[in-house]
């Protein structure tokens, strides 16, 4: 068996303070761009007789507007629902009968399609992917049925889930102008309201080969994949570049606050600070800062809030990295009867201390090592390889930058962390969300 991890990456995993050797992309990874603009990356790995295929389409809820919120996500569902050549359901039937499974996801920025299958099904999967990009059909009956499915998903993730409900409110409050205020699942009236014509316009605008990036990792050879791409994907006609998102979020002039009164045993507190776009060199530092704050039982906020003060049950952190400046999130679950404002004050002191005094060398080393181990773990599977290579290609412009990450992690200093914290944790540029049960004794169910 060949080593799964390119050599340079191991340098950072030896976890010393020496600078890591610069890692170049392994030679076995190959990439090409078809004449129609479709980009395709192939990463051979023959450890298991399977393949992971990702198609990243550059469209998400960021490309929506009032009236069609949730359409990118709904479209993700419709991509499985029939073409002019295959009736609804045939995509899944054919793929599963050959041993393959699939999924898809939609975010603010991207719609991502994934297939996992035995390498013997490679030709079929390219046929299926080319077919739905070139010949998608919109059966009005299927559109209506799928509306119900998506609304059910919204009830599951938002309406019957307090954390999901609050996060939707926080995100829609945080952005005044930029379409990142749109929830990816869509507002209920839009889920019920969008039309067949909306779908057709959306497909035409965004599902163009020049807006797609394919990544194939696993038991394949590059030439074999390129030949299939020429056969099934090259015939797709190039289209005009999708309209750019022009709106730039103005600088937030002061703290925003959203309060949700809702049936709950455990109150929730969420903080969302304005953060840089994905392709910003500060994000390596911010991800390490996130790890220092709330990843693992030895992290600062976990230790302070959960273990020592016991004023929180759980604390999580997430940096949203998109095409445009996004949010750095903190999610806190309080014990029953907990006081969100008291927890907020404690968090504020902890964040201020990092901005003034910084973090210890041990904290930085711990974050470097956890980050490297997670990165390394992802590269240990064909799925992780396909996802990471694609994310770097799409969000950072070149999959090769993936191999610069260990070096970038090793270069971050305590001063960088302190400066980043000082810059990021400005209360004027944050949105605070609090979800708590009604305070009056007579309160019943929520609306």
């Amino acid at each position: 068996m060949h080593p799964k991890i390119p050599g340079g990456i191991l340098a950072v995993l030896s976890f010393c303070s020496l600078p890591a050797a610069h890692a170049s992309a392994p030679d076995e990874i190959r990439a090409m761009t078809l004449d129609n603009g479709l980009r395709i990356i192939v990463w051979p790995d023959h450890d298991i007789p399977n393949v992971a295929l990702y198609n990243f389409v550059r469209v998400g809820s960021r490309n929506e507007a009032p009236g069609i919120t949730g359409l990118a996500h709904f479209f993700e569902h419709m991509m499985f629902n029939g073409t002019t050549r295959r009736p609804p359901g045939e995509f899944d039937r054919e793929m599963e009968a050959r041993g393959g499974s699939n999924n898809a996801s939609t975010s603010d920025d991207l719609t991502t399609y994934m297939d996992w299958f035995p390498s013997s099904a490679l030709d079929l999967v390219f046929d299926l992917e080319g077919d739905r990009l070139g010949h998608l059909a919109f059966d009005p009956k299927v559109v209506e049925s799928e509306r119900g499915v998506v609304y059910s998903e919204r009830r599951l993730r938002v309406e019957d889930d307090n954390a999901g409900f609050l996060a939707e409110q926080v995100q829609s409050t945080a952005f005044a102008a930029h379409p990142y205020h749109i929830p990816t699942i869509g507002w209920p009236s839009d889920i019920e309201g969008w039309t067949l014509a909306d779908l057709q316009r959306f497909f035409k605008a965004y599902y163009a080969p020049n807006n797609c990036t394919f990544v194939v990792a696993g038991d394949v050879e590059p030439e074999q994949v390129f030949a299939l791409a020429r056969k099934y994907l090259a015939p797709l006609p190039r289209q005009a570049a999708p309209p750019p998102v022009r709106t730039v979020e103005p600088v937030q002039p002061g703290e925003k606050r959203v309060t949700v009164e809702r049936r709950a045993q455990t109150p929730l507190l969420q903080l969302a600070y304005k953060a840089p776009r994905a392709d910003d060199s500060r994000n390596v530092t911010l991800n390490l800062l996130a790890t220092i704050l709330a990843q693992g039982d030895a992290s600062r906020l976990h230790r302070l809030l959960v273990e020592e003060r016991r004023i929180a049950v759980n604390v999580d952190v997430y940096l949203q990295e998109g095409f445009d400046p996004g949010l750095f999130w903190l999610f806190v679950t309080l014990p029953q009867g907990g006081d969100p404002d008291a927890v907020l004050a404690t968090i504020d002191r902890a964040l201020a201390s990092i901005a003034t005094e910084g973090v210890t060398e041990a904290e930085l080393a711990r974050a470097r090592n956890l980050t490297s181990a997670a990165y390394f773990g992802q590269l240990g599977t064909i799925n992780g390889k396909a996802r990471l290579a694609g994310e770097f290609e799409v969000m950072h412009g070149d999959f090769r930058k993936l191999f610069d990450l260990p070096d970038a992690i090793a270069r971050v200093t305590r001063d960088d962390i302190r400066a980043a914290a000082k810059d990021l944790f400005d209360a004027r540029h944050r949105t605070v969300g609090i979800l708590a049960p009604p305070t009056t004794a007579a309160a019943g169910g929520e609306g």
Partner: protein, 471 residues
């Protein structure tokens, strides 16, 4: 945010763990060694050189089925406290040591074993064994850590009840189906039972259920075989046996007729349902056919259940089914959800699919598709050292040998309509004999669910998972 994932219970994923390829492209278990130390501790080592990491799983047999009556969660708290201070390290020092090395280390109580699993860099092999030995042999069980962890487990359950209810419904289902049988008891405890667990209960659990004779250690990855064997010998070979015998489980009785547990969550937008009965044990002889038939019925996107409840009707984001197979038979369960006013319609449809399965069986083409699917997905489940450590742990826990994996491809390929029919008759409950749990807005669905059988009611906010008055 995943958007199209078929709602797949852990049971379904576990089933997929049992289906290697047939023939030339099959998954064969890579070479490993199995050693029994004089005190009964089992050591399993599988060298894997792809990445300089070592994954481990330590199993301590017993698990939640050894919880004292009324004290569900004693095993879970014992497990959680293993890493909250052990040997010379405080809770913080333990976590900081693990995370400082870029490692992971987590302990949890399963139904039949406490498992400690994680991963370290190969260069930290000695540290990994030291931390494992400290956690298992020298946990501190400090009073302050006990109080903190117990309070946190209770609050986490309350928080889970404020979240997507599909995550908890299985606990209600198992309790309602199995009652006083140990499989009915929630492995993590309930708010009420955790409040009853004392530090003395944890110490007693540890004395009775921890010892060299209960332990299996599994390492997969870039190991230094000699050094590892030596370190394990030194650290564990003098560990005394546990104070008590492993609880012997009787098979739980199956439910006859139908009954309903309605769990009220006022204001819920959707109704979440779980429909189950006793299934089969881990050593069920027709396991390959079971996997293939369940794949067709509720184990993949185009399954009969998902086709009816999602694809054709748009009633739900997803519907699935699965078996939980323990030393004795666990449950078969169907799970789905739908908006409040279609609760009856969706449950009717789910029951109709079960009647259809028993009435019409599955066709030859469908069987061929499901066989290909089970075989095609299997290598993806056994790709990493961590996957292999978990798979070997499953073999050890249930007394299976490597043929369980090696021979499986051929068994899946050999599934015929006749074996499928036998599995449907013996493993899948009939639609007349079912336990049904519904979490939803009781005021709006009480009448709709009454037609399925006698209804018992509780509320989601109640501090346990059982019907009021149940023992």
């Amino acid at each position: 945010m995943g958007r199209r994932t078929v709602f797949a219970p852990a049971a379904v994923l576990a089933l997929l763990l049992a289906a290697p390829f047939a023939g030339a492209v099959g998954v064969t278990v890579p070479p490993y060694t199995r050693t029994v130390l004089p005190n009964g501790t089992v050591l399993v080592v599988m060298p894997r050189r792809e990445v300089p990491l070592i994954a481990f799983t330590a199993l301590v047999r017993g698990g939640a089925v050894a919880d004292p009556a009324g004290k569900a969660g004693a095993a879970a708290l014992t497990a959680g406290l293993l890493e909250k201070g052990a040997g010379s390290r405080s809770a913080f020092e333990f976590a900081d040591t693990v995370e400082g090395a870029g490692g992971s280390f987590s302990a949890a109580a399963g139904t039949e074993a406490i498992s400690v699993s994680g991963q370290f860099l190969a260069k930290d092999q000695a540290l990994m064994v030291e931390l494992l030995a400290d956690a298992l042999l020298r946990p501190r069980f400090e009073a302050a850590e006990f109080e903190g962890l117990r309070a946190r487990h209770i609050e986490e359950l309350k928080a889970a009840k404020d979240s997507d209810p599909s995550a908890l419904i299985r606990l209600y289902g198992r309790q309602f189906l199995f009652g006083n049988h140990p499989y009915g008891s929630p492995a993590g405890g309930s708010e009420r039972s955790l409040a009853a667990v004392t530090r003395d209960d944890v110490l007693a659990y540890y004395r009775a259920n921890f010892g060299g004779d209960r332990l299996t250690l599994i390492f997969a990855g870039d190991v230094d075989v000699q050094a590892l064997a030596g370190a394990v010998q030194r650290a564990f070979s003098n560990w005394q046996p546990a104070g008590a015998a492993i609880p012997v489980l009787a098979p739980p009785p199956a439910a006859t007729g139908r009954r309903v547990l309605l769990v009220d969550q006022p204001g819920a937008a959707q109704s979440y349902f779980w429909i189950g009965n006793r299934g089969v044990a881990r050593k069920y002889a027709d396991r390959a056919a079971l996997d293939v038939v369940n794949t067709l019925y509720g184990g993949r996107y185009t399954s009969i259940l998902n086709t009816e409840l999602r694809i054709k009707s748009g009633l739900s984001y997803g519907a699935s089914s699965g078996f939980t197979r323990g030393t004795v038979p666990g449950e078969f369960a169907i799970r789905s959800f739908t908006k409040t006013d279609t609760t009856g319609k969706a449950i009717d449809l789910a029951l109709a699919t079960l009647q259809q399965l028993h009435g019409s069986g599955v066709g030859a083409d469908a069987l061929a598709s499901a066989r290909a699917y089970v075989l095609g997905q299997f290598p993806l489940q056994l790709e990493t050292a961590g996957n292999w450590a978990a798979a070997l742990a499953e073999l050890e826990l249930y007394g299976l040998d490597r043929a369980y994996i090696d021979g499986y491809g051929a068994a899946v390929a050999a599934v015929t309509p006749a074996t499928a029919a036998r599995v449907i008759a013996t493993a899948f409950p009939r639609a007349d004999d079912l336990v049904i749990v519904v979490i939803g807005d009781a005021v709006k669905i009480r009448d709709a669910v009454a037609k399925y059988g006698p209804v018992t009611e509780t509320t989601l906010a109640a501090p346990d998972f059982k019907a009021p008055g149940a023992p």
